[in-house]
Structures are given as structure tokens and as C-alpha cells.
Point group: C2
Chain length 324, copies 2
Amino acid sequence: MDVSNDSDSFGETPYAEIKSFFDSAPPLKDSSDIQRKLDEFTRRISLTPETERASRVVCVTSGGTTVPLEQRCVRYIDNFSSGHRGATSTEYFLKAGYAVIFLYRRGTCQPYYRSLPDDPLLECFEVTSESNIAVLPTHRETVERAISEHRSAIIKGTLLKLPFTSIFEYLQILQLIAFSMTRLGPSAMFYLAAAVSDFYVPWESMTVHKIQSSSGPLDMRLVQVPKMLKVLRKDWAPKAFCISFKLETDTDILLKKADMALERYNMHMVVANELLTRKEEVIVVAKSGKITVHRDKTQADADVESPLIKLVVDRHSDYISSGL
Amino acid sequence: MDVSNDSDSFGETPYAEIKSFFDSAPPLKDSSDIQRKLDEFTRRISLTPETERASRVVCVTSGGTTVPLEQRCVRYIDNFSSGHRGATSTEYFLKAGYAVIFLYRRGTCQPYYRSLPDDPLLECFEVTSESNIAVLPTHRETVERAISEHRSAIIKGTLLKLPFTSIFEYLQILQLIAFSMTRLGPSAMFYLAAAVSDFYVPWESMTVHKIQSSSGPLDMRLVQVPKMLKVLRKDWAPKAFCISFKLETDTDILLKKADMALERYNMHMVVANELLTRKEEVIVVAKSGKITVHRDKTQADADVESPLIKLVVDRHSDYISSGL
């Protein structure tokens, strides 16, 4: 859940780096189809009176991005992220009356599927003697909830799911989303929980064919991904409420990084996660101070996302009414 | 689908490298549980009269392995593989009367699920007004087949599924499988379709915490994974029928590599895949010569795995009757 890269050098937005990143990126497949879906989605929302919660849209990014090491990609570097945070948060945003654009890594955790086993088709269903497909009683409730809530969100048009795999796809689609959300002004939110690569291999400097291992050890040089958070905030979606995430395995580094991200990228909030405790608690870092949000330990199935999204929604309301 | 690494230097089995690989690997979780499952599975099969097809077991490996770049793994290098080849082949092996140990990468393609959409729960099911869960008529047949055939294989005990993620887990479990299959002699087969990393970062030389990007570009040195194919064939399972895979994006390199693997690792067969055409045709390389296997293009839903597994099973029969 580290959407930024962490160069300690402050400084201006690196437009040249960003231009060369996008110029060198492979063309986005289905970009016109994605554009069309986004336009329909945001246009419908923007027709809702601003006084209603239903006029709010959050773009939740989820899962890790890959960095191809070869143009015909056999090998790539991946960032660990199950997508659990993004999928769970999406459910709570929908519950809070938001429309959600769920920008997720292919194959990662989906909204409403958290409580299902790894292989629901195998573990939750059986074919009866009359060759009907039946849900095993033990899973009936969770499966029914998953299917009905998930389908209804898609059908009502409050949930738009857009998949990505590589860092190139992720940032290209994020830009399309940001531009199409501008019409929503401060009702738009970015909740950037995806684990975005800090390093990449520029497409043009990439080998076309599979790297051969015949020549001894493999030495690789990766360059830093430009600071897109800064551009998102400053140019792509200057009116939107922006929340980024920091994930570290070392708690000492974590808060220092969160403070830096808040300042450097001018985020409204930074959610600080420590890898091992991130499902129990997170620290929300804002200009007004730090708040530690805990999971309700009195309930077995309570998520830390429940109080987290409540806090985020309240702050977003303040932001909208402040008219900034 | 490149289970070997490709050092062009011939030479003896690198026992020292292999020892240091296993010594430095993080301990395998649930190893006793995996061992128990394997013992039950292979013992039951070994009680079947050798004259019957049912006494044959194939270990199908599927999907790509990851190479962690940090001990508390946030970043890792992955090998592209959907797992489609392994999952599809597993179905045809079961159909041919084999018992299958399916050693698969978590999250990759599963047997019987090929023809289902990406998100079957969302796209194939609906909750009826009586809040029953019903399959949409359009998907009824595929869903019913997926659930019934998959479940029956698990329940009959002809399919054992074992998941892995990292190169360390993969090779540790593969070794357990090989040892427990020795009791089956030549009735055992290894069908090594997994895309195994050629390079890895030795665990002890790995940074414990997340790599920080504050210090400019990232330079990495990875070392070659030891030639496990050679050890599998020579020491772990000397009587088993062994098939390895080569995947290349460059056809010129492909056959040269396949021939080398056949000779160097003493495989019984090497299946050569070209990345872009691998679902249409593969070239089976054996000491007796090369055979190109094509998908039956007259049928829309025919797989190249159908004729491929037929050929493999015939050759395995010859191998068993030859008493080698």
C-alpha cells in the first residue's frame, strides 16, 4: 500500500520524468472503452444533487503493480498486496452511500468475497442428485451476501471495476479516472491503497525477448517511478480529497515517511500501515494530527476498515462543506 | 514453463549449490501436513494392481514461482504463467485414469475452471426473489461441470492439490512429492509445467526490511537457481518418467534449449513452447525425435493438451512395459 516512491530529495514536480514515463509506456489496451465507462459513470453521478451523499465518488486503488523486466513479459517484479484493504474499504464506502471506482490488480481480493474460502466453487457448492447446483448450508449466508450485494452494486451502477496489471496500465488508467472525476469537484475522493512499484525498467530500455540465464548472475538496474502523487494532487485532480497509504515493515521508518508524504505530495490524509499489524490498527496522519484507528476487538469479524472509512467520510464531509 | 535454468556450462550435479539452497531456504510451513497428505495419497494408489491405469500417478506442476527480494516479502520477482497448461493437462490426465498431484501456484488457473468467466460468482449466479442462489441459464452447463467433476476428483481421492508461492516452497514440496512417489516406481510421472525462476536471492543475503528507494536507482544481483531437474531425475525419483517444459519468446533459441535440457537433465521428454503460439501447438522433443502436436482446429473448443496428453500417456505406457 505504498503508492508513492520515497526519494528523500524534495523539489518540484518532475514533469520531464513523467512525460518520459508516459511517452515510453506501451499503449493502454481498451483505453476508449475505459474512457466510455468512466464518462457514463461520472456523468450519472454528477447529475445527483450535491447535497446528497450519492453525489460522492471515491476511486479506490487496490493490489500491487507489476514492473515488466522483458517487453514480451515472462518475468516481472511484483509488489506484495492481497488487495484485502481496498476490497474491504470499497464495501464500507458503498455502505456509506458513495459510488466507487475500484481500480484493482487482476486476481486480487474483490469486494464482498473476503469471507469466502479460496475456492468458493469447489468448497461452497455441490451438484445435487437432481443435478441442481446447491450451496452447502455452511456457506449459504456468506455466498448469498457476496452474490447479491456484489451484483446489486454493479447493476445499480454504484460500483465500477477496472483491472490493471502493470505499473504502466495502473498510472495510465489512474490518469483517465482523475480527468473524468474533475467534473465532480470536491465530491471526488482518491483512496490510493494500491501497492505501486517504486522502481521500473523504462520500456525502451527493456529487452524484447526473455532474459537468458546462460551468462551467470543477473544484474538489474531499475529507475525510480516519477512522483505521480504530486501530479495527481496538483494537476490531475486539484479539487479532489486525496488519501495515500504508506506500508513499511519497520515502524520507525513508517511515521517519518507518512509525514513526508503528507507534506511533499500535499495529501489530505496518509494512512500508515505496519505490515504485521495492519489488520489490527492503522495510524491516520493529517495536518490536524495523528489518529490511531483500531479494529473493534470485542467483535470477531470486525474490520479496521469500518472505523477507518467512518473517519475518512467525516473528514471528506468537512472538506466539502469547507468549500476549499 | 521453464523448469530448468539454462547455464550453458555442462558438468556434474551441483550438490553443494543445492545443499546451500535448501539450507538457506526459510522452513516450509505445514510440511508435516503436506507429508501426511502425500503418504495417504501415494499409499492408496500403490495398493492398486500395477496392471491398472489407476496405479499411475502424475505430479503436474503449474504456474510461476516467486523470488522474494526481502525477507518480510513486499517485493518479489515473478515468472509469468497463468497455469492454464497445468490445469488443462490435469483434466486430461484424470480423464486418462491417472491420479494427479497438482502442485500449483496460489491464485493460478484451476482444473475444470478454464471455461468459466474471471469472476464466476458475479457473472454466473444470481439470487432469486425467493433468495435462492441460481445459476444463470447461459452458464449452467459449464458451472455444473466445473463443480461436479472437480468435487468428484477431490472426493474420489484422484486429485491432490498442493499450493506454493515462492521458489523455496516449490522446490521443498517437489522434493517431498518425489520421495513419496518413489514407492510407485515407473508408474510415477513428473510433468513439470511450472515456470520456475532461473534466478534467486539467497535468503541469508536478503534484506530483512523493505528495500528503501531513497538512495537512487535499485541495483540487484541475483544468482542462478541450482539445476534441480538433474537431481530430481538422478536422485529424487530415478525410476519416474520425467517431462520438462521450455518456454521461449524466440523460436530460434527454443529448440536448441529443448535439446540441451533433454541431454543435460536426462529427461524422457521436453515440451517446447513458443510464448505466442503455445495454445495452438507444441513440439515434443524426445531421444526418438521431435513431434509437433497441434490443436484440432476443426473444433472451436479443442485444446492442444488433448493430443499432447494422449502422446505422453502412450509414451509412459511404453516406458512402463519396457521395464526400465
